[in-house]
Symmetry: C2
Subunit: 311 residues, 2 copies
């Protein structure tokens, strides 16, 4: 299957622990890697878990708390040391280039590639990337500082041929590449066979939503419809709901309620407070509301299969 | 024995590898920890190898290449999250506070402690710290950017009492604390017993020298005299001596020559180029010149015992 695969690189909240690195996710869409947040040590995690450095052309930074971007400068430096040539697109708060400027200036002409900064819109949903493999939408969440989540929607891929129909209509081999792309077949006599009679799609375009750091925002459930996998922060369990509200974070129950109301396929919770050596309490709390909940762990790979289309 | 103990936290050069973190060392002098360089991930290594975060009041940054300081902002942030109150002294190039300013400004009033910046002198040797446990001298080395090494010299500790002499001169218990600090004993009749007749010192004050990143600078051997343990970079083996010269780094042979000519007790080599998966070639090269050479490894602890004093 064409990959649409998430690798979790970090699961801690602001304070890293012996086992947990700060936030970073890598999404592999057809062998292109999209990096989401870049806490300290992300480049080390990237190497450890086999994410392909040279295939990262897009980085998304949700907000400017250090645990979500302190690893960026090291990664940019490593790209330069490796002689990277491709443009690098970074989607972040407009202040980030200024913040990193004194460090980037240090490279002078040694930065072998171009960084293209894209400021995020923290007021409304925004399509920030639309290329041949994916569409990315940012959406504002509620945190102490401006913060966005991201939804990655796969572009429809090539269609699967229905072999028996191809034989039945005697479609020549030279036509197959066009049929896979969605074209109708027209035979020598001008007879049109609609594409839908010749192909099937294995799954609907796949969708991954990344939602951290934020208070519980019930209204978001609308935009999570048709999301296969939702990553939602769950910094605390419900005993600390007051603290979650005060610090603009969510509880495991709130993350699960979000998954439930938006009917996503699967929920992954992460961004755990350093107080939890064992996160079973968070897992149990979420599962009691939304059973298909996973606990994020460093190095976890989730291969998103996508929902079957009802034909 | 009162600790004078080095913990190696990172051994890579600019490009970290799967096994090697960028440079950072922690020196424990009588349970005070001195952090030397702070590459990305240092705070994670600190937790992993049991260095006491709350006992770090002094950080020394050799130079402003990212692999020697990109972990500093994360550590400063963690100190704030933990509610640190003690002043933190940072010895570095005078540009570092400016470079980190946009990130530090983000804390606003949330930085619970004071950072006191001490600019290094890259023109001449300089005593940069002199407190009750240690004297630290910085010395300029030769790199592409201004860079300093550091020598940590232990302050003489409390003296060991010679029990038989204490009995012979009938020294009262109330006097012992003063004798341990070096005072002479004066008995009821005014008879003076010199301190040296009552005490002995187990070892000479201990010295650790940290020397990276630098070309081979033979003249430095003078200041390494009486150093117990010398950490000297050995980015390359001698086959790459030309490249070492061009990039202002050293070979393993050069590091060993330095150890040899300055007659240090032990040599540790590190800051290995990412090209070496196995550093045996570097170890063998150094040992052939200076047998008492160790290869730096993440988590290695070297308890420095000090030379015996010849009484």
């Amino acid at each position: 299957m064409i990959p649409f695969e998430l690798t979790i690189l970090g699961t801690s909240s602001a304070l890293p622990t012996l086992k947990r690195y700060p936030t970073a996710h890598a999404l592999n869409v057809r062998e292109r890697f999209f990096l989401i947040d870049c806490g300290e040590g992300t480049q080390i995690q990237i190497r450890k878990y086999g994410v392909k450095l040279s295939r990262i052309d897009h980085i998304f930074i949700s907000h400017l708390h250090g645990d979500h971007y302190f690893g960026l400068i090291g990664l940019l430096s490593t790209f330069a040391l490796l002689g990277r040539k491709n443009d690098l697109h970074i989607f972040s708060h407009s202040q980030l280039p200024e913040i990193l400027k004194p460090q980037l200036d240090f490279f002078n002409d040694d930065l072998s590639y171009k960084i293209i900064w894209h400021p995020l819109n923290f007021k409304k949903n925004d399509i920030i990337l639309d290329n041949e493999v994916v569409t990315v939408m940012s959406f504002p969440v509620k945190h102490r500082v401006p913060c966005c989540g991201f939804i990655f929607s796969e572009k429809p891929g090539l269609l699967n041929l229905q072999k028996d129909k191809i034989e039945e209509y005697k479609v020549p081999v030279s036509w197959l590449q066009y049929i896979k792309k969605g074209e109708d077949y027209v035979d020598e006599n001008g007879l049109v066979v609609p594409n839908s009679a010749l192909t099937c799609q294995k799954h609907l375009p796949r969708r991954y939503a990344f939602c951290t750091d934020t208070s519980y925002v019930p209204e978001l459930s609308e935009i999570f419809e048709n999301v296969d996998v939702l990553y939602h922060e769950a910094t605390y369990d419900s005993r600390y709901e007051k603290r979650a509200n005060e610090t603009f974070h969510s509880t495991a129950a709130q993350a699960a309620n979000m998954a439930n109301s938006s009917r996503v396929g699967q929920l992954i919770i992460g961004h755990f407070s350093a107080r939890y050596k064992d996160v079973t309490v968070l897992h149990d709390e979420a599962k009691s509301i939304f059973p298909n909940t996973l606990i994020a762990e460093e190095g976890m790979v989730i291969s998103i299969e996508g929902r079957k289309e009802i034909l």
